[in-house]
Structures are given as structure tokens and as C-alpha cells.
Subunit: 412 residues, 2 copies
């Protein structure tokens, strides 16, 4: 029988009633003729509770013990989901990560899945079991310790199972009914997308649309897993949610499919850096060593051998960045007059595969912002994305104006 | 280094502060030169919460899934305890049941430990780790599924580790400071025992003194594990708690060491049973098949080929017992006029190894009860125990009177 992977997030299994509701959806797919692999998150709030225990005990914790503690929430949901399905006469059993086993690297709290042997579960399917309920977010290291995949890791578990079992589709049930052209809380005209390409979703996911863990989209793209995001709270039909798929499967071809916005950015400016060959390496080397994720970079034209260098990074890495750069200055590796952190900024991005073939997208974006009197601080572009850093107070205005300018409320 | 096993029950690890307190005790034993195996229960309330989830989902649950769910509480505590010890600079790590592995039978929810390979943990001890924190109550079946050992199973885990690692002692930290001559809530004069023999503890444990899981005492007796019960809430000293040990190690030799009382009994009477050879088998066979634990049995002298048969069983098995006997009657296997269940009874027992060599204990017990005007309904005796079934309303009075009569408030 064809295999379907269904993943239920924390809010979709927040209590026994919701687990029953999710189990009913699973039952429908079983009746449709699928062998189903269900990936479950912890009941919402559980993982946060466990994390707070760990934080309380040990601020600088041993990640191996952290993983052993925080992975337990998923085990509870997996067992309860299997029991609920059995109550509905659907043959089901639960698997914890180590039982499959979901083999991962030893990078605790941010482990990567290396292999998922399918024999055990396939053998049970062939014996009449119809649903394998697997605890998401977790795996086992080569040393036999429990690992976790980072927050949102259950999405990645789901996609990895879909790839390993050659599933027809991977349905991610969550508390939103799909991927939107932008955050509906910011722009009321935001429209749910029927389809979006992996590449676009990846840009949106990493730009702050918190629907899916970025890693899961990467994995889906690499293995060609058809991914669907849909709500577990709405009536189900065949076209529910948003399908994330290969570019070829998308007919609609607007230049921009979505506007992403992120408040979690900071702008750092090194004032009056001595300009010399290798200066960029001297600046960004230490930042990288201190695990600062530099996003946008802008270098002013040098005057009299000195220049200003501006970059952006996540707001919670500002302290680390300052430490890295001041240390490098003390060591004499770089020389600057001042280091200014601006944490009152936001990043707004337009994303769309169509901009590869259609010109004028950047011009339209800049003009729209200019018409609203919004000053652009930093620009960065990729093949399918244009991002700008602006004052945070203008973020909502910028999103709304761009959504209008690119007519994203219209379906085609 | 010598190995010590320390087990902390749910109330001793109920929150982070208590885990810290328990960890401090562990740290002291490490400083004393022990390699320590710590067995932890779930934080108090957690297992009940998980059990209620399962009951809510599925009244007739699959015990394999039940075990997968309810075992998760211990995993959380184990990780948190290891982190807390690390914070105190004590080299520690956690083990879940399957990681040791604690090999059990497949009797889910009531599994028995079959083997505990010591190599993994011993290897870590030899590499400098000082504390192995092990999740109690759980193991893994030959099929690789998670099992649990029944409520209170962490005590059994602790004793089994003490046996497997040839530990010097197994300390059970709980919310009471030892084993008492009787329930202090019933008799204010109850006195904490310094030592008690395995045999006596076994009688007391199975008679309703809920300090230790019966199975753990059996195991300790079989493997000669010196077991100590003590409070995690009191100042520690060398003589804290009660030592449960072999008879030879006890000097004190009173005929009675403790009075146990249990409200969870029911008296069942089969009125006017046709008396014939094999009638006892015909009655108790079906009861055994329906998993009714018959305790005391009394058969009246037959008159005109008919007799009354009385037995006691746990109060929550009365329905099952009635079903078993009525079915047997319908099948014509037994014949009786009436079946009367009396659930307003209590069992009171006097326990002591000394009664083997000292006569007159039974006589003194019966006389004491008579002096208080308490009618004895059923009597049963073993080598080191005399039990009587009485009206429940007299239970406290009987316990107090017997405690006085045997002078249990005095140490010798």
C-alpha cells in the first residue's frame, strides 16, 4: 500500500480531545488505503516546561542530558496517539526514536538525521499494522545517546520519514491553514497560497515565516518530498492547505509570491575601519568563530584609507558579535573607531521564483518604499529574493505597501 | 571503588529544589568514596498525570503503549538529576532503561527484571564518572519495547542494581524516615525500628505498610542486599532510617516487631456449600483463573453434607470474585445457597521472627482483642505472622491495643 506521512504539531495534540481529532484524520487516510506514518510533537507547552526545568537546574547544560530530558514529551504523545487509534480499531503502535532507530549525528540539540532504516516498520505494515506513530524531534547518536533535532525538529523528522519510506506525500498539520503571501496579522489582505516551490518556501522559512523548520524544507527539496501544510482545526478537503513542491509543478508564475518580515534583526556598523586587502576576512572570520550568523553586508566606498562596514545579524547575537570584534581589535587584527549596534530595525523581503525571468522587481520594490517615505538602510539580493533593512517602526507599513504593489491578494 | 545505590522516590524529586537537595546527599556519598548509582522516580504527580491521560484515551489499554507513556516521567528526572550533579562538579550521566539495558520479561506493566548487564556503567566508573543516574520503574522487553515494573517499581530497580553491581548498600530515600512498629497515624506511640529482617519486612510490606514495593524486599532477601529506608527531608546521619537486613544481623529479638493494618480487605462467604471431596479446588480454581488473590480461608464444620466457606480477598477484586463463583455455579461446578460479601472489614496482623521461638503470641493477641470486645471473624497464621479479620470500625482500636500489649513502644 502507498505510504503517507502525517505530522501533527504541538497545538494539534495539545490535549486528549485534539489527539482524538487528529486520530480521526489519520483514520480517514487509512480508510483511503494508505499505510500511515504519523509523526507527533509533544503536547503544546510540554517541551517549554521541560526546557525551563533544564534552564533552572543548569544554565550551561550538558546537551546530552538536555536532549534526554526534552525528548520525553514526544514519547508521551506517541503512545497516546497509538492508543487512540487502537480505540478506533485502527491497528497502530508507537515507536520512539531509538526504536526505529532514527540514526543521527552526535551534535546534541541540533543533530542531523543520517539514516532511517525502514525494515522494522515495513515488516509491521506487511503484518497488517496500518499506522506507525513515531515520536518526532528525536533520534539516537552513534554512541547510543538520545539526540534532538532543534526546535521545530518534528517537521524534519516527518520529511525524513517521507523520504526514507518513499511516501506519496508528507502532510504537516499545524495551527495555521497554510502558507500565506505574508503574515495575515500584518496585512489583512494576505492570501493563502495553493502551491509554493521549495526554493520560495525556503526563503520564506528562513526569513521568518515560522510555518516550517527550514531544515525540513531543504530536506524535502533534496529528496523531492511533496510537502503539504494544513490546519488540523479546519474541515478537511483535498485542496486544503498549501502544497510545497517542485517548481515544475507550479503553473502560476508571478514575480513575487510572498513578502516576509522579521523583527529579529540587528544592524551593526564598524565606523572608520582601516581599509586594506583582507579586511573583510579579518572582520568576518572572528564573527564566524563566535557563531554569529551574518546576513547582509554593505561596505561604503573608502575615503583616505578608511571605510564603514555594516552588516546585519540576529538580534540575540549582538553581544557575541561585539565581543568577537572587540577582541579582534585588542589583538590588533582589525582597527575601527566605533562599533554601533542598531537593534531598532526590521528586515522585509520579497520572494518569488518569477523574478528570475521578470525584471523590474527590485525597482518596483524600492519605488514603493520611497513612495511611503521609508528609508532603506541595507539591501541584499539573491536570485529569487530581495531583502531590505528598514526602521522597525515602518515594518508593517512596508509589508502592506509591497503586498499591494505586487498585487498578492489576487490569485493569478 | 565500592558501589552504593541510592534511590529517590517521587516526593524526594518533586521539584528542582528537592532534586538539588537529593543531589547534595549523593555528592556526600561520592565524597565518602563511593561510586554511586542513583535510581530516580518520576517527579511526584507526573506518573499519575500520565496514567490519567491513558485512562482517558483508552480504558482497556494496550499495556505496551501504556508503558511507553508512563515511563517517560522517570526519564525527565534522570536527566535533571545528572545535570544537577554536573552543576555541582560531580561527573554524572543519565541512563534510560533501554540504554543500560535493564532486560525484563514481556509482562508489560508488571514486568520482572531478568538481567542488568553492568559493563557499560562499570566502564564509565573506571573512566572517572562517579554517578550513574538511572531512570527507575522501567526496562526493555526481549522484543525491544519499553516495559514497566508496576507501581513502586523503582524500589525494585534499585535493589536489582544493588544486586547486579554488588553494592555495599541500597538506600531508599522517601518521605518517611523509616519503618515503624505500626502506622504512626493510627498509633501515636509507634516507634521507628532501627533494624528489621527481610522476612518481617516482607510480611509488613505485603500487609499494607506501603514503605517499599514487596517485590523489592523479596529481591533484596534473595540476593542479600542490605536495604535502608530513610527520609530525604531529615538531617542525615549514619544511623538514619531503618536497615532491612538478614535475621543474623539483628540482635534484638522481641516476639512481635510490628502491627500491620489494612482496610483494603473484603470477606466473602459462600453459604451452604455442598460439601464433597474436591470442593475447595472447585471454588478456588475459578477464583485463581479470574486473578482473585485469595488471602485467608476458613471452612466451617460440615453439617448434613453442607458447609459455609469463608475467604478474604482485596476489596477491589470482589466483583471479579462474584463473577467467577456465579459462573462456576451456573456451570454446575459448585453449588451454594448464597454468596455474601462483607466489605466493612479490616485485617490486623502481628509480625515478628521471634514468635518462631516464643510461644503464647497468638494467645496474647486473641486475649487483647477480646478484652477490647473485638470479635475475630477469620484467623490466619504463618511462621512469623498472625492475622485476624475484624470489623473495620475496630481497626484503630485493635492496632493501639496490640501495640500496647506487645510493648512495641519500647526499644528492647
Amino acid at each position: 500500500m502507498p505510504v503517507l506521512v502525517m505530522k501533527f504539531g504541538g497545538t494539534s495534540v495539545a490535549n486528549i480531545d485534539r489527539i482524538r481529532r487528529a486520530a480521526k484524520r489519520v483514520g480517514i487516510e487509512v480508510a483511503n488505503g494508505y499505510d500511515v506514518i504519523v509523526i507527533v510533537s509533544a503536547m503544546s507547552g510540554e517541551t517549554n516546561k521541560l526546557v525551563s526545568y533544564v534552564d533552572d537546574v543548569s544554565p550551561l547544560y550538558d546537551a546530552r542530558e538536555y536532549d534526554a530530558v526534552v525528548s520525553s514529551g514526544e514519547n508521551v504523545t506517541a503512545g497516546l496517539m497509538a492508543l487512540t487509534l487502537q480505540e478506533m480499531d485502527v491497528p497502530a503502535r508507537s515507536w520512539q526514536g531509538w526504536q526505529v532507530p532514527v540514526q543521527t549525528t552526535s551534535a546534541h540539540s541540533a543533530a542531523r538525521i543520517e539514516a532511517i532504516p525502514s525494515e522494522n516498520i515495513m515488516a509491521k505494515f506487511s503484518q497488517g499494522m496500518r499506522v506507525a506513530v513515531v515520536a518526532g524531534f528525536q533520534g539516537v547518536s552513534p554512541e547510543g545517546r538520545i539526540t534532538t533535532l532543534g526546535r521545530g525538529g518534528s517537521d524534519t523528522t516527518a520529511v525524513a520519514f517521507a523520504a526514507a519510506f518513499d511516501a506519496e506525500r508528507c502532510d504537516i498539520y499545524t495551527d495555521v491553514d497554510g502558507v500565506y503571501t505574508t503574515d495575515p496579522r500584518i496585512a489583512g489582505k494576505a492570501r493563502k497560497l495553493e502551491k509554493i516551490s521549495f526554493e520560495e518556501m525556503l526563503e520564506l522559512a528562513s526569513l521568518g515565516a515560522k510555518v516550517l523548520q527550514t531544515r525540513s524544507v531543504e530536506l524535502a527539496m533534496r529528496f523531492g518530498v511533496r510537502l503539504r501544510v494544513l490546519s488540523s482545526f479546519e474541515e478537511y478537503d483535498e485542496t486544503a492547505g498549501t502544497l510545497i513542491c517542485a517548481e515544475e509543478d507550479i503553473v502560476e508564475n508571478k514575480p513575487v509570491v510572498g513578502i516576509a518580515a522579521s523583527r529579529d534583526e540587528a544592524k551593526m556598523t564598524l565606523v572608520s575601519v582601516a581599509d586594506r586587502p583582507g579586511i573583510a576576512a579579518a572582520i568576518f572570520g572572528p564573527l564566524s568563530e563566535h557563531a554569529v550568523n551574518v546576513d547582509m553586508i554593505i561596505q561604503n566606498i573608502a575615503e583616505e584609507g578608511r571605510t564603514d562596514m555594516t552588516f546585519s545579524c540576529p538580534i540575540d547575537q549582538v553581544k557575541r558579535a561585539e565581543k568577537a570584534l572587540n577582541e579582534a581589535k585588542e589583538k590588533g587584527e582589525i582597527n575601527f573607531h566605533d562599533l554601533i549596534a542598531d537593534t531598532e530595525v526590521a528586515k522585509v523581503s520579497a520572494v518569488g521564483i518569477g523574478m528570475r525571468s521578470q525584471s523590474g522587481v527590485a525597482a518596483k520594490m524600492f519605488q514603493t518604499l520611497r513612495d511611503e517615505g521609508i528609508n532603506i538602510k541595507v539591501i541584499s539580493t539573491s536570485e529569487i529574493k530581495i531583502s531590505v533593512l528598514i526602521d522597525r517602526k515602518y515594518m508593517e507599513l512596508a509589508v502592506q505597501a509591497l503586498h499591494d504593489a505586487f498585487e498578492l491578494e489576487k490569485a493569478s
